[in-house]
């Protein structure tokens, strides 16, 4: 049944690569933003909060189109990055990672933000009296205590990145071996006669990967939980 063709393997590997890179690159930004939104009051905070959540409510095609006109070859940001850093997004797997990261970003930020908001700040005061400066307080108290939220955010972002379709196909198209993820491959197979078997195989793979991610997340979250309350 699960006799995958080389093309299907390529799509699976590419999907995993894109989702992992998207999540990993989004993580530091996500933590910083979650902390900012949880702890700081500044002008334009509501706007920033809204902006982060935009990909969640916009049609994915719209997000993809906006990425295309800003990060595409002729887009202002895309042209700048290509000319100065040699980073090209359009029709590359890096572009797919960018769109997946953008789409997963709100799902990453929200749980981390809620976890940071739930932390008893008196513990951070206690750390300060014990000699920890603000960075160390963050690294040794805030971040470890926010770990369950961090894990939840990572899983949601990874899952979103793995399944992202609309924004990615709009931004970087559906090129086998470069931007064709599992989702895009399934879509392609359903468009051609006799592609049902291949589509079905990839569907099973997608289910397996998603389930595995959930199980790992559950296990990690439970471990983090017992670290707080158990022995």
């Amino acid at each position: 049944m699960l006799d995958l063709s080389p093309d299907e393997w390529i799509a699976i590997r590419l999907s995993l690569k894109i989702a992992l890179v998207a999540t990993a690159v989004a993580l530091p930004f996500g933590i910083a933003l979650a902390w900012l939104l949880a702890r700081k009051n500044f002008w334009g905070k509501t706007l920033l909060d809204g902006l982060v959540h935009m990909p969640l409510v916009l049609p994915p095609v719209v997000t993809g189109y906006l990425l295309l006109i800003s990060f595409g070859r002729r887009g202002p940001i895309g042209a700048f990055l290509a000319d100065h850093f040699g980073i090209v997004f359009s029709f590359r797997w890096t572009g797919a990672a960018l769109s997946c990261g953008v789409m997963g970003f709100p799902l990453l930020v929200r749980p981390i933000r809620l976890a940071i908001e739930a932390i008893d700040r008196k513990l951070e005061d206690a750390a300060a009296t014990l000699g920890a400066d603000r960075l160390w307080v963050f690294l040794t108290v805030t971040l470890p205590l926010a770990m369950p939220g961090l894990i939840a955010g990572l899983v949601l972002c990874f899952a979103k990145a793995l399944g992202e379709f609309g924004a990615t196909i709009t931004f970087v198209s559906n090129i086998p071996g470069e931007t064709q993820t599992i989702s895009a491959a399934i879509y392609t197979f359903t468009q051609i006669p006799g592609g049902d078997a291949a589509a079905g195989r990839l569907v099973l793979v997608a289910i397996a990967i998603s389930l595995a991610a959930l199980v790992v997340a559950e296990w990690l979250a439970r471990r983090a939980g017992t670290r707080f309350h158990g022995e």
Binding site: D120, K122, A126, A127, A132, V137, T140, E231
Partner: protein
């Protein structure tokens, strides 16, 4: 030792306090709402006074006139909070070692053992704070504050969250700590203070109304009874 002269407005409440301590255990005594915790937080550097100064020995910790405000993490002042505030994600040993790590002090096995024995917490080292009783938690909090080798130890109602039996259990440990480091001990419970304090600062509605020896407590409590 500690000399302070501070003013702070917090909404309706205003605090204006001036006193000096000579070392030993200084009791900060007063009813709840008198501003004891606010005052202690200013000494620790967790809140800044509006005006005034806080000096510890030769170090100016806060001086509004010269714009000095040493941040809390640089003050080397130990703080035992009413609710312990142990780090839930660290073991007891991790909690005890936290201050030493953050202050960049060398590992000192002998000192660790001495404090652990002094407080009888050796059997708790591998546990998480969530699994400790109230009395055990406060003893670990004492140890954590002492092991950062503080120049001054602040204790804010360290026994308030404990029942009478636990208080009796902890008091002997506190008496042992008396010779370790100068302390400022906040409480609204006179009998507890009488057993441990060497001098008293009486606080009422944000003002210092009396300072002196333990006899100040007798006068204050007599007034309360009368």
């Amino acid at each position: 030792m500690l000399a302070l002269d501070v003013e702070k407005r917090l909404g309706e409440f205003s605090l204006a306090a001036r006193f000096e301590t000579a070392g030993g255990v200084t009791a900060l005594f007063g009813a709840s709402g008198a501003g004891k915790t606010t005052l202690v937080n200013m000494i620790a550097g967790l809140i800044a006074p509006d005006r005034g100064h806080v000096r510890l020995n030769d170090t100016m910790l806060f001086d509004s006139a010269n714009r000095i405000n040493v941040p809390a993490h640089c003050r080397r002042i130990g703080y035992v909070f009413q609710e312990g505030r142990l780090f839930p994600h660290l073991s007891v040993a991790g909690n005890l070692d936290y201050g030493r790590r953050m202050c960049g002090l060398a590992r000192d096995r002998a000192e660790m053992t001495r404090i652990v024995d002094l407080l009888d917490i050796g059997h708790l080292l591998d546990r998480r704070p969530g699994k400790l009783s109230g009395g055990e938690r406060q003893r670990v909090a004492f140890g954590r504050a002492l092991l950062m080798r503080p120049r001054l130890l602040l204790l804010d109602e360290p026994l308030a969250s404990l029942d009478a039996a636990r208080k009796r259990e902890i008091l002997p440990y506190l008496q042992r700590l008396r010779d370790e480091v100068p302390m400022v001990y906040v409480s609204h419970h006179a009998p507890e203070l009488k057993r441990i304090a060497t001098s008293v600062v009486l606080l009422e509605a944000g003002r210092v109304v009396a300072t002196g020896g333990i006899d100040v407590l007798d006068a204050a409590t007599a007034e309360l009874v009368a």
